[in-house]
C-alpha cells in the first residue's frame, strides 16, 4: 500500500511523454554556425565584484562552453545565462579561487550574462547565425505542472477510497482492522497535504477538519483523522468514532471535488515540495503528528514521496535550466529515501518501525538528511518561475 499507491507517472515516463532531451544535446534541428568565429566553443568569464563580462560579446550559434573563474568576488558566487527573464544555465557556489563551467547549445538571439550582486550585474551576449526553435524548459515546466494536477487528483481519489474501509471497520467494531485501515489512509493525505492546507472555505478549513492534531483547534471543534487515531490506540475501541469517520469521509470527498479543477504554477510545485518537507522536520521527526499510534515514519514517507513527485514533474524542465541544482535535488532525495528504507518493518502497522523505537541518533540523522534536501529544493522555485 505504502509504495504501491504512487501515481502512475514517474519522471522517466514524463521525459518520454514530453519528448524532451537534455540540455546541450543534439537533435533539435539546429545546424548552428560553422565555426567561422574562432572563439566559438569556449567563452571565458572572470567573476569579480565588478561584474562578469564574457571575454567575447558575440559568438556564432551552436554548442558552446562557458568557463567561469571567480577571481575575487566574495559576495558574488553565481553566474547565470539568461534569455529574457529565463535562466538557461548557471553555475552556483563558486567562491574566490574556484572555477566551473556550463555547456549548452545556443541559437541566434540576445542573451545576458547575469551575476546577481555584482556592481555591473548584467552583460550582453549576442549569438549570431541560425535561429532555430528548440523545446524549452518552459514548455516542460508547464506540462509538468499540468501532470502534477493529475497526480493530486489520483492521490485524492486514493484517499477517498482508503477512508471507506476505515468507516467499514469502525462500523464493524473491528479495532485491528480499523488501525490497519487508518494507516492505509494516511499516505494519500500526507502526499498532498499542502494542497489541502491551501483551502480555507469561509467557515470551513479542510486541513484542520481532516488532519488537526489535538490542541491545534478548540476541543469542541477537533475532528478528523487524529480523533480516530486517539480512539483506536488510546481507547483501543471504536466507540464514538463512527460519526467522526463518516464526517472524515465527507471531507475527503469534498477535497477530491475541490482538486478536480485545480491548476498549478511550476513554482507552486516547488514551494509545495518544500512545504511537505518542512512538515517532516516540524511534525514527523518530532513524533508529534501520530502521537498515539507512533506511525510517524509512515507520514514522513508520504510527505517525502509527495515532494519527490512534485519535484519529478519539474525535473525535466529544471534540468535544462540548472542541471546542477536538479542533480543535487535528485541526490539528496535518494539519500533521504535510502535512509528511510532502513526503518521499514512489514510486521508493524504502517510498514515502518514505530517512532518510539527511534533513538536520538536516528532522528538527528533523518532530520539532517531532510534538511540537506530542503536547502537545494528551496532554490528551485526561483528557477522555474
Amino acid at each position: 500500500m505504502r509504495i504501491a499507491a504512487r501515481a502512475g507517472l514517474t519522471a522517466t515516463a514524463l521525459i518520454a511523454a514530453l519528448g524532451l532531451t537534455a540540455c546541450g544535446s543534439s537533435g533539435s534541428g539546429d545546424s548552428g554556425g560553422d565555426g567561422a568565429d574562432g572563439k566559438r566553443g569556449a567563452i571565458e568569464i572572470v567573476l569579480t565584484d565588478n561584474g562578469c563580462a564574457p571575454d567575447v560579446a558575440t559568438a556564432a550559434s551552436g554548442a558552446m562552453t562557458f568557463n567561469i573563474t571567480n577571481k575575487d568576488a566574495t559576495g558574488v558566487t553565481e553566474v547565470e545565462l539568461l534569455s529574457g527573464t529565463r535562466i538557461l544555465a548557471e553555475k552556483e557556489n563558486l567562491a574566490p579561487g574556484f572555477s566551473g563551467s556550463f555547456s549548452l547549445k545556443l541559437t541566434a538571439g540576445d542573451y545576458e550574462i547575469y551575476c546577481p550582486g555584482a556592481k555591473t550585474s548584467r552583460s550582453k551576449f549576442t549569438v549570431t547565425g541560425e535561429a532555430a526553435p528548440e523545446a524549452t524548459g518552459d514548455d516542460a515546466l508547464t506540462q509538468g505542472a499540468a501532470l502534477y494536477a493529475d497526480y493530486v487528483k489520483t492521490q485524492a481519489a486514493t484517499l477517498v477510497e482508503a477512508v471507506g474501509p476505515l468507516v467499514a471497520a469502525i462500523q464493524a467494531n473491528d479495532v485491528p482492522a480499523a488501525k490497519q485501515a487508518y494507516a492505509n489512509a494516511r499516505s494519500g493525505y500526507e502526499r498532498i497535504e499542502p494542497v489541502a492546507e491551501s483551502f480555507a472555505l469561509g467557515e470551513q478549513n479542510l486541513d484542520a477538519d481532516i488532519d488537526a492534531r489535538e490542541g491545534d483547534v478548540p476541543d469542541n471543534e477537533w475532528r478528523g483523522f487524529h480523533v480516530i487515531e486517539k480512539g483506536l490506540w488510546v481507547g483501543n475501541s471504536t466507540t464514538g468514532l463512527l460519526t467522526v469517520a463518516q464526517e472524515l469521509q465527507a471531507n475527503v470527498t469534498k477535497l477530491q471535488g475541490l482538486v478536480a479543477d485545480l491548476e498549478y504554477q511550476p513554482a507552486e510545485l516547488a514551494n509545495g515540495a518544500v512545504a511537505l518537507l518542512e512538515e517532516v522536520i516540524s511534525g514527523k521527526i518530532t513524533g508529534e503528528e501520530e502521537r498515539y499510534s507512533h506511525i510517524d515514519l509512515l507520514d514522513f514517507a508520504g510527505n517525502v514521496e509527495g515532494a519527490q513527485q512534485a519535484f519529478a514533474f519539474l525535473q525535466p524542465g529544471l534540468e535544462s535550466i540548472d542541471s546542477t541544482l536538479s542533480e543535487e535535488c535528485v541526490t539528496q532525495f535518494a539519500a533521504v529515501t535510502t535512509l528511510l528504507e532502513k526503518y521499514t518493518d512489514a510486521a508493524v502497522v504502517g510498514g515502518y518501525v514505530l517512532y518510539t523505537t527511534l533513538t536520538p541518533a536516528d532522528t538527528v540523522a533523518l532530520a539532517n538528511a531532510v534538511q540537506a534536501l530542503v536547502d537545494p529544493l528551496s532554490g528551485v522555485a526561483a528557477k522555474v518561475v
Binding site: 567562491a95 480555507a200 485545480l262 528551496s378
Partner: protein, 430 residues
Amino acid sequence: MTDNQRAPADDAAPRRRPSRRAFLGGAVGGGALLAGGAAGFAIGQAVADPDPGPHPSAGLVDFYGEHQAGIATPSQDRVAFAAFDVTTRDVERLKGMLGLWAAAAARTTTGRLIGTTEDNPHAPPVDTGEALGLSPAQLTITVGFGPSLFDERFGLAGRKPAALEDIPALPADVLQAALVGGDLCVQACSNDPQVAFHVIRNFARIGRGTVVLRWSQLGFGRTSTTSTGQSTPRNLMGFKDGTNNIKAENQAQMDDFVWVGDETDQDWMKGGSYLVSRRIRMLIEAWDADFIADQERIFGRKKESGAPLTGKAEFDPIDFSAKGADGALVIDPVSHVRLASPEENSGLRILRRGFSYTDGIDARTGQLDAGLFFICFQKDPRTQFVPLQRKLGSMDSLNEYIKHTGSAVFAVPPGVREVGDWFGKALFTS
C-alpha cells in the same frame, strides 16, 4: 460538542495551525490560480540593496593574514563554537564549501551581508539577516580540521600531522559522547553574541548537504586575557585564572608555544596552530558552599585581588618555595596555580582562550549546568595540553568541583592570505 460554549471569539480565532507557506494562495478553481501567486515577478527584478558595505565601526579584525584570526586576537567576550561532521564523500564539494566559508567570513567580519542581496523574490535570502547593521564587534572566524577528517574518505591520510592525535583518555574525564570530536570546527568570537551566532547559523546553512552539526557551544564571557592591554577576567568560580597566560605581544612565546613552525611534518600546517577544546562543567553549587580559605588554597590565589598567596598584587611573581609559619608550602602542592605553572612543567605553556558557559539546568539534579568552555592553542597538544591535563586531572584540588564533559582537538591551518585563498587550501591542493 456543546455549542453554547462556543464564544464568538472562537470564530475569529484561527481555526487551524497555520500553513507555513501559502502554497496556492487559498484560491479555489481553475483560472484564478494561473493569475495568482507566481505571476508578475521577473527574475532580476530590482530590490533595494540593504548591504551597507563594510561597517563603519572600528570593531574590525582583519580576516586575511599570515595566521588565522581568533588566536592571537585579544580575546573577545563571546564565542559561538561548533563542530561539524562531513557527510559528503565528494572532496570537491568539501573544498567548494571551505571556499564559500572563506568568502562568507571575509564579508561578515567586515559587517557585510554574506553573499549579496537576493534580488529574486522567489528565492530564500542569501544571508539570514540577524547581523545586518550590527558592528562585527571584533568578529573573528577560525576554522580547524579534526583527526577524523584524515581517514580514508578524502585521500588525506598521508597529510595528517603527527601532532593531530585524538586527545587520549585523561584522568577525571567524564566525557559525553555527543560532546566529543568532529571533522571540522568553527570558532566565531565577537563582543556581540548575535554576530557570533550568525556565523555558526550561516556556516551550517552554507554547508547543508556537505556537513552536519555535531555539537555546538555558546560562551558568554571570556575567562582569559591574551593581550597585555586586557585585564584578567574571572571565571565562574569567581577567581582570576590565567594571569600568567601567553600574551599575543610576546612574539617569542607565540613562536615557541603557539604557532606551528619548521618542526612540523606537514608543510601545510606552518603558521597554523592546534586547538584543544574542553567543556568543563563546574559544580558551582558545591563550590559556593566551600569556605573562602579553602577556595583560595585550591587556586593558590586571593579571590578578590587575584594576587598569589605569596604576594600582594595580581602580577606579583609567585614564590613556589615560600613556607608559612607552620613550615608548610604557602602555595599548596596540589593547588591549581602550582600544577599549571610553567615553573612546575619544565617551562611548558599554552595559550588559553576560554569562555564561561551555561546551558540551563541539569535535568537530573536541577542544578545549573555551567562552567568553562576551555579553549587553548599550541604547537603540539601531545607535548603541551595532554601532559598538562594528565597532571591536573590526577592531582588538582579543583577536580572535586569540575568535570570534563566535552573534548576535541583540531588542526587550525595558517591564515587565509588573500581573496582567492581559503581555509586549508594548501592541505587540499598543494
